[in-house]
Protein backbone atom coordinates (compact mmCIF):
# COMPACT_ATOMS: atom_id res chain seq x y z
CA UNK A 1 0.00 0.00 0.00
CA UNK A 2 1.83 3.13 1.05
CA UNK A 3 5.58 3.02 1.23
CA UNK A 4 5.45 3.59 4.97
CA UNK A 5 3.47 0.45 5.45
CA UNK A 6 5.83 -1.44 3.21
CA UNK A 7 8.86 -0.36 5.12
CA UNK A 8 7.21 -1.41 8.36
CA UNK A 9 6.38 -4.77 6.85
CA UNK A 10 9.91 -5.37 5.68
CA UNK A 11 11.17 -4.54 9.15
CA UNK A 12 8.79 -7.07 10.67
CA UNK A 13 9.83 -9.55 8.03
CA UNK A 14 13.44 -9.16 9.13
CA UNK A 15 12.26 -10.03 12.63
CA UNK A 16 10.52 -13.09 11.21
CA UNK A 17 13.77 -14.15 9.58
CA UNK A 18 15.41 -14.01 12.97
CA UNK A 19 12.82 -16.47 14.17
CA UNK A 20 10.61 -14.12 16.19
CA UNK A 21 7.20 -15.68 16.46
CA UNK A 22 5.45 -12.41 17.16
CA UNK A 23 6.42 -11.29 13.66
CA UNK A 24 4.77 -14.39 12.28
CA UNK A 25 1.66 -13.72 14.38
CA UNK A 26 1.51 -10.24 12.94
CA UNK A 27 1.46 -11.44 9.35
CA UNK A 28 -0.97 -14.19 10.18
CA UNK A 29 -3.44 -11.89 11.89
CA UNK A 30 -3.14 -9.34 9.19
CA UNK A 31 -3.44 -11.49 6.08
CA UNK A 32 -4.91 -14.83 7.04
CA UNK A 33 -8.65 -13.99 6.89
CA UNK A 34 -8.31 -12.10 3.62
CA UNK A 35 -6.27 -14.87 2.03
CA UNK A 36 -8.86 -17.46 3.08
CA UNK A 37 -11.71 -15.50 1.54
CA UNK A 38 -9.53 -14.77 -1.47
CA UNK A 39 -8.79 -18.43 -2.07
CA UNK A 40 -12.34 -19.45 -1.38
CA UNK A 41 -14.32 -16.84 -3.23
CA UNK A 42 -12.05 -15.89 -6.06
CA UNK A 43 -10.86 -19.31 -7.01
CA UNK A 44 -14.13 -20.90 -6.01
CA UNK A 45 -12.87 -23.52 -3.67
CA UNK A 46 -14.81 -24.80 -0.66
CA UNK A 47 -13.81 -23.32 2.70
CA UNK A 48 -11.82 -26.26 4.20
CA UNK A 49 -9.70 -26.61 1.08
CA UNK A 50 -9.12 -22.89 0.88
CA UNK A 51 -7.96 -22.84 4.50
CA UNK A 52 -5.64 -25.80 3.92
CA UNK A 53 -4.00 -23.97 1.07
CA UNK A 54 -3.52 -20.76 3.04
CA UNK A 55 -2.24 -22.65 6.07
CA UNK A 56 0.28 -24.51 3.89
CA UNK A 57 1.51 -21.17 2.61
CA UNK A 58 1.98 -19.86 6.14
CA UNK A 59 3.77 -23.01 7.29
CA UNK A 60 6.08 -22.58 4.32
CA UNK A 61 6.58 -18.93 5.19
CA UNK A 62 7.89 -20.00 8.60
CA UNK A 63 9.88 -23.05 7.50
CA UNK A 64 11.57 -21.28 4.61
CA UNK A 65 11.87 -17.87 6.27
CA UNK A 66 15.66 -17.90 6.12
CA UNK A 67 15.70 -18.71 2.44
CA UNK A 68 13.02 -16.21 1.46
CA UNK A 69 14.06 -13.01 -0.12
CA UNK A 70 11.07 -10.73 -0.10
CA UNK A 71 12.07 -7.53 -1.78
CA UNK A 72 8.79 -6.02 -2.80
CA UNK A 73 6.26 -6.96 -0.20
CA UNK A 74 5.27 -9.80 2.05
CA UNK A 75 1.74 -9.17 0.95
CA UNK A 76 2.35 -9.90 -2.71
CA UNK A 77 4.48 -12.91 -1.80
CA UNK A 78 1.58 -14.36 0.20
CA UNK A 79 -1.12 -13.61 -2.35
CA UNK A 80 0.91 -14.98 -5.24
CA UNK A 81 1.79 -18.10 -3.28
CA UNK A 82 -1.86 -18.71 -2.41
CA UNK A 83 -2.95 -18.05 -5.97
CA UNK A 84 -0.40 -20.48 -7.39
CA UNK A 85 -1.37 -23.18 -4.93
CA UNK A 86 -5.04 -22.69 -5.76
CA UNK A 87 -4.28 -23.12 -9.43
CA UNK A 88 -2.34 -26.29 -8.72
CA UNK A 89 -5.34 -27.67 -6.88
CA UNK A 90 -7.73 -26.61 -9.63
CA UNK A 91 -5.52 -28.09 -12.28
CA UNK A 92 -5.54 -31.43 -10.53
CA UNK A 93 -9.30 -31.28 -10.06
CA UNK A 94 -10.48 -30.44 -13.51
CA UNK A 95 -7.91 -30.37 -16.20
CA UNK A 96 -9.47 -27.70 -18.34
CA UNK A 97 -9.74 -24.67 -16.13
CA UNK A 98 -9.48 -21.50 -18.06
CA UNK A 99 -6.68 -20.19 -15.93
CA UNK A 100 -6.20 -17.06 -17.89
CA UNK A 101 -9.77 -16.02 -17.36
CA UNK A 102 -9.38 -16.45 -13.65
CA UNK A 103 -6.14 -14.49 -13.57
CA UNK A 104 -7.64 -11.63 -15.46
CA UNK A 105 -10.75 -11.43 -13.37
CA UNK A 106 -9.14 -11.47 -10.01
CA UNK A 107 -6.01 -9.51 -9.78
CA UNK A 108 -4.11 -9.71 -6.55
CA UNK A 109 -3.78 -5.95 -6.60
CA UNK A 110 -7.10 -5.97 -4.82
CA UNK A 111 -6.25 -4.67 -1.40
CA UNK A 112 -9.66 -5.03 0.12
CA UNK A 113 -8.53 -8.31 1.71
CA UNK A 114 -5.90 -6.86 3.96
CA UNK A 115 -6.31 -6.67 7.69
CA UNK A 116 -5.87 -2.95 7.60
CA UNK A 117 -8.72 -2.45 5.19
CA UNK A 118 -10.78 -4.94 7.10
CA UNK A 119 -10.63 -2.76 10.23
CA UNK A 120 -11.48 0.38 8.32
CA UNK A 121 -14.38 -1.23 6.57
CA UNK A 122 -15.69 -2.77 9.72
CA UNK A 123 -16.02 0.63 11.35
CA UNK A 124 -17.61 2.15 8.30
CA UNK A 125 -20.09 -0.65 7.92
CA UNK A 126 -20.96 -0.86 11.57
CA UNK A 127 -21.77 2.82 11.51
CA UNK A 128 -23.94 2.34 8.46
CA UNK A 129 -25.71 -0.69 9.83
CA UNK A 130 -26.36 1.08 13.13
CA UNK A 131 -28.54 3.55 11.27
CA UNK A 132 -30.91 0.78 10.22
CA UNK A 133 -33.96 0.07 12.37
CA UNK A 134 -33.58 -3.27 14.20
CA UNK A 135 -36.10 -5.20 12.15
CA UNK A 136 -34.74 -3.75 8.96
CA UNK A 137 -31.15 -4.75 9.84
CA UNK A 138 -32.25 -8.22 10.85
CA UNK A 139 -33.92 -8.77 7.49
CA UNK A 140 -30.99 -7.29 5.60
CA UNK A 141 -28.49 -9.60 7.29
CA UNK A 142 -30.66 -12.67 6.90
CA UNK A 143 -30.80 -11.96 3.21
CA UNK A 144 -27.24 -10.87 2.61
CA UNK A 145 -25.28 -13.03 4.99
CA UNK A 146 -27.31 -16.18 5.22
CA UNK A 147 -28.47 -15.99 1.62
CA UNK A 148 -32.11 -16.51 2.52
CA UNK A 149 -34.70 -15.72 -0.10
CA UNK A 150 -37.33 -13.10 0.65
CA UNK A 151 -39.99 -15.78 0.92
CA UNK A 152 -37.92 -17.74 3.45
CA UNK A 153 -37.31 -14.63 5.53
CA UNK A 154 -41.02 -13.85 5.48
CA UNK A 155 -41.81 -17.35 6.76
CA UNK A 156 -39.13 -17.24 9.41
CA UNK A 157 -40.18 -13.89 10.81
CA UNK A 158 -43.85 -14.42 10.19
CA UNK A 159 -44.17 -11.42 7.92
CA UNK A 160 -45.65 -10.93 4.47
CA UNK A 161 -43.23 -11.19 1.56
CA UNK A 162 -44.17 -7.68 0.57
CA UNK A 163 -43.01 -6.36 3.94
CA UNK A 164 -39.68 -8.13 3.58
CA UNK A 165 -39.21 -6.62 0.14
CA UNK A 166 -39.96 -3.17 1.46
CA UNK A 167 -37.55 -3.57 4.34
CA UNK A 168 -34.76 -4.72 2.03
CA UNK A 169 -35.29 -1.76 -0.22
CA UNK A 170 -35.27 0.55 2.76
CA UNK A 171 -32.05 -1.00 4.12
CA UNK A 172 -30.26 -0.50 0.86
CA UNK A 173 -31.48 3.08 0.54
CA UNK A 174 -30.33 4.00 4.05
CA UNK A 175 -26.99 2.24 3.68
CA UNK A 176 -26.28 3.95 0.42
CA UNK A 177 -27.04 7.30 2.01
CA UNK A 178 -24.93 6.55 5.08
CA UNK A 179 -21.95 5.20 3.17
CA UNK A 180 -21.96 7.65 0.31
CA UNK A 181 -19.05 9.60 1.75
CA UNK A 182 -17.00 6.42 1.89
CA UNK A 183 -17.81 5.18 -1.57
CA UNK A 184 -14.80 6.89 -3.11
CA UNK A 185 -12.70 5.06 -0.52
CA UNK A 186 -14.35 1.82 -1.49
CA UNK A 187 -13.75 2.61 -5.12
CA UNK A 188 -10.10 3.09 -4.27
CA UNK A 189 -9.82 -0.59 -3.44
CA UNK A 190 -11.31 -1.45 -6.77
CA UNK A 191 -13.34 -4.57 -6.59
CA UNK A 192 -14.54 -7.15 -9.02
CA UNK A 193 -18.12 -8.16 -9.42
CA UNK A 194 -19.12 -11.44 -7.98
CA UNK A 195 -22.24 -11.13 -10.01
CA UNK A 196 -20.77 -11.47 -13.42
Amino acid sequence: METGNQAKELFIFEELKRGKEYAFDFFFNYYYPGLCVYAQKIIELPEPEAKDIVQDVFVKLWNDRKKLDVQISVRSYLFVAVKNKCFDVLRKKKRSVKLQEITHQHDIADESFDGYVLCELEIIFDNGLKKLPDRCREIFELSRLQGLKNREIAEKLNLSEKTVENQMTKALRILKEELKDYLPLLALFEIFHFLR
Partner: protein, 346 residues
Amino acid sequence: MEDKDYIYHLITIEFNNQLDASQKLELQSWLDSSLANQAEYNALIKILNYHQRLHQMKRINIDRDLSIVKKRFGQLSRSKKLLLNFQRIAAILIIPLIIYAAWNIFDRSTTNEKIALLKSSETAYGVRSQIQLSDGTKVWLNSGTKLTYPDEFIGQTREVKLEGEAYFQVESDPDHPFYVDLNGFKVKATGTRFNISNYPDDKDILAYLEHGKIALVSSVEGAPEIQLKPLNEKELLVLNKALRQYNLQQVDGKKQTAWMKGTLVFKNDNTADVATRLGRWFNAEIVFDDDLQKSGYVFTATFKQESLEEALKLLSYSSPVKYKIISTSQLGDSSFSKRKVIISKK
Protein backbone atom coordinates in the same frame (compact mmCIF):
# COMPACT_ATOMS: atom_id res chain seq x y z
CA MET B 1 -38.81 7.98 -5.31
CA GLU B 2 -41.25 5.18 -5.85
CA ASP B 3 -39.35 4.31 -8.97
CA LYS B 4 -36.00 4.29 -7.17
CA ASP B 5 -37.37 2.02 -4.50
CA TYR B 6 -38.40 -0.42 -7.14
CA ILE B 7 -34.89 -0.43 -8.65
CA TYR B 8 -33.36 -1.03 -5.23
CA HIS B 9 -35.76 -3.83 -4.79
CA LEU B 10 -34.57 -5.35 -8.09
CA ILE B 11 -30.94 -5.00 -7.09
CA THR B 12 -31.41 -6.83 -3.81
CA ILE B 13 -33.13 -9.63 -5.67
CA GLU B 14 -30.45 -9.69 -8.33
CA PHE B 15 -27.80 -10.22 -5.75
CA ASN B 16 -29.40 -13.47 -4.70
CA ASN B 17 -29.70 -14.40 -8.36
CA GLN B 18 -33.42 -14.44 -8.34
CA LEU B 19 -34.36 -12.03 -11.11
CA ASP B 20 -36.69 -13.30 -13.79
CA ALA B 21 -36.25 -12.34 -17.43
CA SER B 22 -38.60 -9.38 -17.46
CA GLN B 23 -37.08 -7.96 -14.26
CA LYS B 24 -33.62 -8.30 -15.78
CA LEU B 25 -34.77 -6.25 -18.73
CA GLU B 26 -36.23 -3.57 -16.50
CA LEU B 27 -32.99 -3.32 -14.53
CA GLN B 28 -30.94 -3.24 -17.70
CA SER B 29 -32.97 -0.45 -19.24
CA TRP B 30 -32.65 1.57 -16.02
CA LEU B 31 -28.88 1.06 -16.17
CA ASP B 32 -28.70 2.00 -19.83
CA SER B 33 -30.69 5.17 -19.33
CA SER B 34 -27.88 7.14 -17.65
CA LEU B 35 -24.29 7.01 -16.47
CA ALA B 36 -25.38 8.25 -13.09
CA ASN B 37 -27.57 5.19 -12.74
CA GLN B 38 -24.63 2.94 -13.53
CA ALA B 39 -22.45 4.68 -10.98
CA GLU B 40 -25.14 4.32 -8.37
CA TYR B 41 -25.59 0.68 -9.25
CA ASN B 42 -21.85 0.01 -8.95
CA ALA B 43 -21.79 1.71 -5.58
CA LEU B 44 -24.65 -0.42 -4.31
CA ILE B 45 -23.05 -3.60 -5.56
CA LYS B 46 -19.87 -2.60 -3.78
CA ILE B 47 -21.69 -2.12 -0.52
CA LEU B 48 -23.34 -5.48 -0.82
CA ASN B 49 -20.09 -7.25 -1.78
CA TYR B 50 -18.00 -5.70 0.96
CA HIS B 51 -20.61 -6.37 3.53
CA GLN B 52 -20.69 -10.02 2.59
CA ARG B 53 -16.94 -10.41 2.42
CA LEU B 54 -16.41 -8.62 5.68
CA HIS B 55 -18.81 -11.02 7.28
CA GLN B 56 -16.89 -13.99 5.88
CA MET B 57 -13.58 -12.63 7.08
CA LYS B 58 -14.93 -11.94 10.54
CA ARG B 59 -16.23 -15.47 10.84
CA ILE B 60 -12.76 -16.95 10.51
CA ASN B 61 -11.28 -18.00 13.84
CA ILE B 62 -7.80 -16.58 13.50
CA ASP B 63 -6.48 -17.68 16.89
CA ARG B 64 -7.55 -21.28 16.46
CA ASP B 65 -6.11 -21.51 12.97
CA LEU B 66 -2.89 -19.82 14.07
CA SER B 67 -2.32 -22.52 16.66
CA ILE B 68 -3.06 -25.19 14.04
CA VAL B 69 -0.44 -23.67 11.78
CA LYS B 70 2.12 -23.36 14.57
CA LYS B 71 1.80 -27.08 15.35
CA ARG B 72 2.97 -27.72 11.81
CA PHE B 73 6.08 -25.56 12.09
CA GLY B 74 9.09 -27.52 10.97
CA GLN B 75 6.95 -30.12 9.26
CA LEU B 76 6.80 -30.64 5.56
CA SER B 77 3.82 -29.65 3.50
CA ARG B 78 1.27 -32.28 2.62
CA SER B 79 2.38 -32.64 -0.98
CA LYS B 80 6.03 -32.99 0.03
CA LYS B 81 5.02 -35.66 2.52
CA LEU B 82 3.29 -37.59 -0.23
CA LEU B 83 6.35 -37.29 -2.40
CA LEU B 84 8.54 -38.49 0.43
CA ASN B 85 6.28 -41.49 0.97
CA PHE B 86 6.49 -42.22 -2.70
CA GLN B 87 10.26 -42.02 -2.55
CA ARG B 88 10.31 -44.44 0.37
CA ILE B 89 8.17 -46.92 -1.53
CA ALA B 90 10.36 -46.49 -4.57
CA ALA B 91 13.46 -47.11 -2.48
CA ILE B 92 11.99 -50.29 -1.05
CA LEU B 93 10.99 -51.53 -4.48
CA ILE B 94 14.26 -50.76 -6.15
CA ILE B 95 16.30 -53.28 -4.16
CA PRO B 96 14.50 -56.41 -5.41
CA LEU B 97 14.45 -54.81 -8.82
CA ILE B 98 18.21 -54.46 -8.90
CA ILE B 99 18.62 -58.04 -7.68
CA TYR B 100 16.26 -59.26 -10.37
CA ALA B 101 18.04 -57.28 -13.06
CA ALA B 102 21.47 -58.43 -11.91
CA TRP B 103 20.30 -62.02 -11.84
CA ASN B 104 18.89 -61.63 -15.31
CA ILE B 105 22.11 -60.23 -16.72
CA PHE B 106 24.15 -62.96 -15.00
CA ASP B 107 21.75 -65.59 -16.27
CA ARG B 108 22.04 -64.26 -19.80
CA SER B 109 25.79 -64.20 -19.79
CA THR B 110 25.93 -67.80 -18.64
CA THR B 111 23.54 -68.96 -21.35
CA ASN B 112 25.73 -67.22 -23.89
CA GLU B 113 22.98 -64.90 -25.04
CA LYS B 114 24.38 -62.25 -27.29
CA ILE B 115 23.92 -58.57 -26.98
CA ALA B 116 23.05 -57.16 -30.36
CA LEU B 117 25.62 -54.98 -32.03
CA LEU B 118 24.36 -52.07 -33.99
CA LYS B 119 25.43 -51.90 -37.59
CA SER B 120 24.67 -49.34 -40.18
CA SER B 121 24.52 -49.31 -43.95
CA GLU B 122 24.94 -46.10 -45.85
CA THR B 123 24.54 -45.30 -49.49
CA ALA B 124 26.25 -42.30 -50.99
CA TYR B 125 24.34 -39.91 -53.19
CA GLY B 126 23.78 -41.41 -56.59
CA VAL B 127 24.16 -44.98 -55.30
CA ARG B 128 21.48 -47.52 -54.41
CA SER B 129 21.92 -50.81 -52.59
CA GLN B 130 20.10 -53.73 -51.04
CA ILE B 131 20.71 -55.55 -47.76
CA GLN B 132 19.17 -58.43 -45.89
CA LEU B 133 18.64 -58.29 -42.13
CA SER B 134 19.11 -61.20 -39.74
CA ASP B 135 15.39 -62.04 -39.72
CA GLY B 136 15.21 -62.31 -43.49
CA THR B 137 13.77 -58.83 -44.02
CA LYS B 138 15.01 -57.26 -47.23
CA VAL B 139 15.72 -53.55 -47.44
CA TRP B 140 16.50 -51.54 -50.56
CA LEU B 141 18.29 -48.29 -49.84
CA ASN B 142 17.89 -45.31 -52.12
CA SER B 143 20.76 -42.89 -52.56
CA GLY B 144 21.90 -40.76 -49.64
CA THR B 145 20.34 -43.14 -47.10
CA LYS B 146 21.47 -44.52 -43.77
CA LEU B 147 19.92 -47.55 -42.12
CA THR B 148 20.94 -48.54 -38.60
CA TYR B 149 20.07 -52.09 -37.49
CA PRO B 150 21.26 -54.75 -35.04
CA ASP B 151 23.32 -57.61 -36.35
CA GLU B 152 20.79 -59.87 -34.70
CA PHE B 153 17.27 -59.07 -33.51
CA ILE B 154 16.92 -59.77 -29.78
CA GLY B 155 13.86 -59.02 -27.63
CA GLN B 156 10.22 -58.42 -28.30
CA THR B 157 10.55 -56.03 -31.21
CA ARG B 158 12.65 -55.69 -34.32
CA GLU B 159 13.81 -52.13 -34.60
CA VAL B 160 15.76 -50.28 -37.27
CA LYS B 161 16.44 -46.61 -37.80
CA LEU B 162 16.09 -44.88 -41.14
CA GLU B 163 17.42 -41.64 -42.52
CA GLY B 164 16.70 -41.28 -46.20
CA GLU B 165 14.55 -43.49 -48.40
CA ALA B 166 14.14 -47.26 -48.27
CA TYR B 167 11.81 -49.98 -49.42
CA PHE B 168 11.13 -52.72 -46.89
CA GLN B 169 10.03 -56.26 -47.46
CA VAL B 170 9.47 -57.38 -43.90
CA GLU B 171 9.59 -61.05 -42.97
CA SER B 172 6.26 -61.88 -41.29
CA ASP B 173 6.46 -62.37 -37.53
CA PRO B 174 3.42 -61.07 -35.63
CA ASP B 175 5.04 -61.82 -32.25
CA HIS B 176 7.94 -59.51 -33.00
CA PRO B 177 6.59 -56.37 -34.65
CA PHE B 178 8.98 -54.56 -36.93
CA TYR B 179 9.59 -50.88 -36.19
CA VAL B 180 11.22 -48.28 -38.37
CA ASP B 181 12.41 -45.38 -36.26
CA LEU B 182 12.05 -42.08 -38.14
CA ASN B 183 13.33 -39.73 -35.46
CA GLY B 184 10.16 -38.63 -33.69
CA PHE B 185 7.90 -41.11 -35.43
CA LYS B 186 7.85 -44.84 -35.89
CA VAL B 187 6.28 -47.09 -38.43
CA LYS B 188 5.09 -50.42 -37.09
CA ALA B 189 4.77 -53.38 -39.41
CA THR B 190 4.48 -57.14 -39.21
CA GLY B 191 4.65 -58.88 -42.60
CA THR B 192 4.48 -56.15 -45.17
CA ARG B 193 6.01 -54.37 -48.13
CA PHE B 194 6.30 -50.63 -47.90
CA ASN B 195 8.40 -47.64 -48.89
CA ILE B 196 9.45 -44.85 -46.58
CA SER B 197 11.15 -41.60 -47.38
CA ASN B 198 12.61 -39.75 -44.42
CA TYR B 199 15.38 -37.43 -45.58
CA PRO B 200 16.47 -35.10 -42.77
CA ASP B 201 16.25 -32.02 -45.01
CA ASP B 202 12.74 -32.80 -46.27
CA LYS B 203 9.81 -31.27 -44.47
CA ASP B 204 7.63 -34.34 -44.97
CA ILE B 205 7.92 -38.01 -44.21
CA LEU B 206 6.38 -40.12 -46.96
CA ALA B 207 5.11 -43.62 -46.28
CA TYR B 208 3.73 -45.71 -49.09
CA LEU B 209 2.17 -49.09 -48.41
CA GLU B 210 2.36 -51.69 -51.14
CA HIS B 211 1.05 -54.71 -49.31
CA GLY B 212 -0.02 -55.73 -45.81
CA LYS B 213 -0.60 -53.44 -42.90
CA ILE B 214 1.47 -50.74 -41.29
CA ALA B 215 0.79 -48.16 -38.64
CA LEU B 216 2.41 -44.86 -37.93
CA VAL B 217 3.22 -44.41 -34.28
CA SER B 218 4.26 -41.15 -32.79
CA SER B 219 7.19 -41.70 -30.49
CA VAL B 220 5.93 -38.82 -28.39
CA GLU B 221 4.22 -40.56 -25.52
CA GLY B 222 0.44 -40.59 -25.47
CA ALA B 223 0.01 -39.45 -29.05
CA PRO B 224 -2.45 -41.58 -30.98
CA GLU B 225 -1.43 -44.22 -33.53
CA ILE B 226 -2.32 -43.59 -37.11
CA GLN B 227 -3.36 -46.83 -38.79
CA LEU B 228 -2.52 -47.14 -42.45
CA LYS B 229 -5.00 -49.13 -44.47
CA PRO B 230 -3.82 -51.94 -46.77
CA LEU B 231 -2.52 -51.43 -50.22
CA ASN B 232 -5.23 -51.72 -52.81
CA GLU B 233 -6.08 -48.10 -52.23
CA LYS B 234 -2.47 -47.20 -53.16
CA GLU B 235 -2.27 -44.73 -50.37
CA LEU B 236 0.63 -42.47 -49.65
CA LEU B 237 0.87 -40.90 -46.23
CA VAL B 238 2.43 -37.47 -46.22
CA LEU B 239 3.41 -36.42 -42.74
CA ASN B 240 4.61 -32.92 -42.00
CA LYS B 241 7.35 -33.36 -39.42
CA ALA B 242 7.10 -29.89 -37.94
CA LEU B 243 3.31 -29.66 -37.73
CA ARG B 244 2.91 -33.37 -36.87
CA GLN B 245 -0.02 -33.45 -39.25
CA TYR B 246 -0.59 -35.88 -42.05
CA ASN B 247 -2.78 -36.41 -45.07
CA LEU B 248 -3.43 -39.39 -47.29
CA GLN B 249 -3.06 -39.23 -51.03
CA GLN B 250 -4.03 -41.63 -53.79
CA VAL B 251 -0.88 -42.07 -55.85
CA ASP B 252 0.65 -44.09 -58.63
CA GLY B 253 2.31 -47.00 -56.87
CA LYS B 254 4.79 -47.63 -59.65
CA LYS B 255 6.21 -44.18 -59.26
CA GLN B 256 6.71 -44.66 -55.52
CA THR B 257 8.84 -47.77 -55.87
CA ALA B 258 10.35 -47.18 -59.31
CA TRP B 259 13.69 -46.15 -57.83
CA MET B 260 14.26 -49.75 -56.71
CA LYS B 261 14.36 -50.85 -60.35
CA GLY B 262 16.77 -48.06 -61.13
CA THR B 263 14.13 -45.83 -62.63
CA LEU B 264 13.54 -42.21 -61.74
CA VAL B 265 9.97 -41.18 -62.45
CA PHE B 266 8.51 -37.70 -62.52
CA LYS B 267 4.80 -37.33 -62.99
CA ASN B 268 3.40 -33.81 -62.85
CA ASP B 269 6.01 -32.89 -60.24
CA ASN B 270 6.87 -29.29 -59.48
CA THR B 271 10.31 -27.76 -59.76
CA ALA B 272 11.15 -28.07 -56.07
CA ASP B 273 10.38 -31.78 -56.14
CA VAL B 274 12.33 -32.39 -59.32
CA ALA B 275 15.33 -30.46 -58.00
CA THR B 276 15.54 -32.50 -54.76
CA ARG B 277 15.02 -35.90 -56.33
CA LEU B 278 17.12 -35.35 -59.41
CA GLY B 279 19.88 -33.97 -57.19
CA ARG B 280 19.84 -36.99 -54.90
CA TRP B 281 19.74 -39.39 -57.82
CA PHE B 282 22.77 -37.98 -59.60
CA ASN B 283 24.51 -36.49 -56.59
CA ALA B 284 24.35 -32.99 -57.98
CA GLU B 285 22.97 -29.67 -56.91
CA ILE B 286 20.03 -28.79 -59.15
CA VAL B 287 18.79 -25.23 -59.23
CA PHE B 288 15.80 -23.93 -61.15
CA ASP B 289 15.96 -20.25 -61.88
CA ASP B 290 13.39 -17.93 -60.33
CA ASP B 291 11.29 -17.57 -63.50
CA LEU B 292 10.86 -21.30 -63.72
CA GLN B 293 10.11 -21.70 -60.03
CA LYS B 294 7.40 -19.09 -60.21
CA SER B 295 5.93 -20.38 -63.44
CA GLY B 296 4.32 -23.36 -61.68
CA TYR B 297 5.62 -25.61 -64.46
CA VAL B 298 5.33 -29.36 -63.80
CA PHE B 299 7.50 -32.12 -65.25
CA THR B 300 6.74 -35.61 -66.44
CA ALA B 301 9.66 -37.85 -67.37
CA THR B 302 11.16 -41.27 -66.77
CA PHE B 303 14.91 -41.91 -66.61
CA LYS B 304 16.46 -45.32 -66.54
CA GLN B 305 20.13 -45.70 -67.28
CA GLU B 306 20.85 -42.21 -68.41
CA SER B 307 23.74 -40.20 -67.09
CA LEU B 308 23.09 -36.74 -65.70
CA GLU B 309 23.95 -35.09 -69.02
CA GLU B 310 21.71 -37.46 -70.94
CA ALA B 311 18.87 -36.95 -68.52
CA LEU B 312 19.14 -33.18 -68.79
CA LYS B 313 19.26 -33.39 -72.55
CA LEU B 314 16.07 -35.45 -72.54
CA LEU B 315 14.48 -32.96 -70.20
CA SER B 316 15.37 -30.08 -72.49
CA TYR B 317 13.83 -31.90 -75.46
CA SER B 318 10.54 -32.67 -73.72
CA SER B 319 10.15 -29.41 -71.78
CA PRO B 320 10.76 -25.76 -72.65
CA VAL B 321 13.91 -25.60 -70.54
CA LYS B 322 17.65 -25.29 -71.07
CA TYR B 323 20.43 -26.23 -68.66
CA LYS B 324 23.96 -25.35 -67.77
CA ILE B 325 26.31 -27.66 -65.88
CA ILE B 326 28.94 -26.04 -63.70
CA SER B 327 31.70 -28.60 -63.28
CA THR B 328 33.18 -29.60 -59.93
CA SER B 329 35.80 -27.55 -58.25
CA GLN B 330 38.29 -28.59 -55.63
CA LEU B 331 37.54 -27.33 -52.17
CA GLY B 332 40.01 -26.23 -49.53
CA ASP B 333 40.04 -29.64 -47.84
CA SER B 334 40.99 -31.33 -51.15
CA SER B 335 37.46 -32.74 -51.56
CA PHE B 336 35.33 -31.86 -54.54
CA SER B 337 32.14 -29.85 -54.62
CA LYS B 338 29.01 -31.33 -56.16
CA ARG B 339 28.29 -30.65 -59.77
CA LYS B 340 25.86 -27.82 -60.07
CA VAL B 341 23.14 -27.61 -62.69
CA ILE B 342 21.17 -24.48 -63.42
CA ILE B 343 17.95 -25.02 -65.31
CA SER B 344 16.18 -22.04 -66.84
CA LYS B 345 13.45 -21.21 -69.33
CA LYS B 346 14.23 -21.57 -73.01
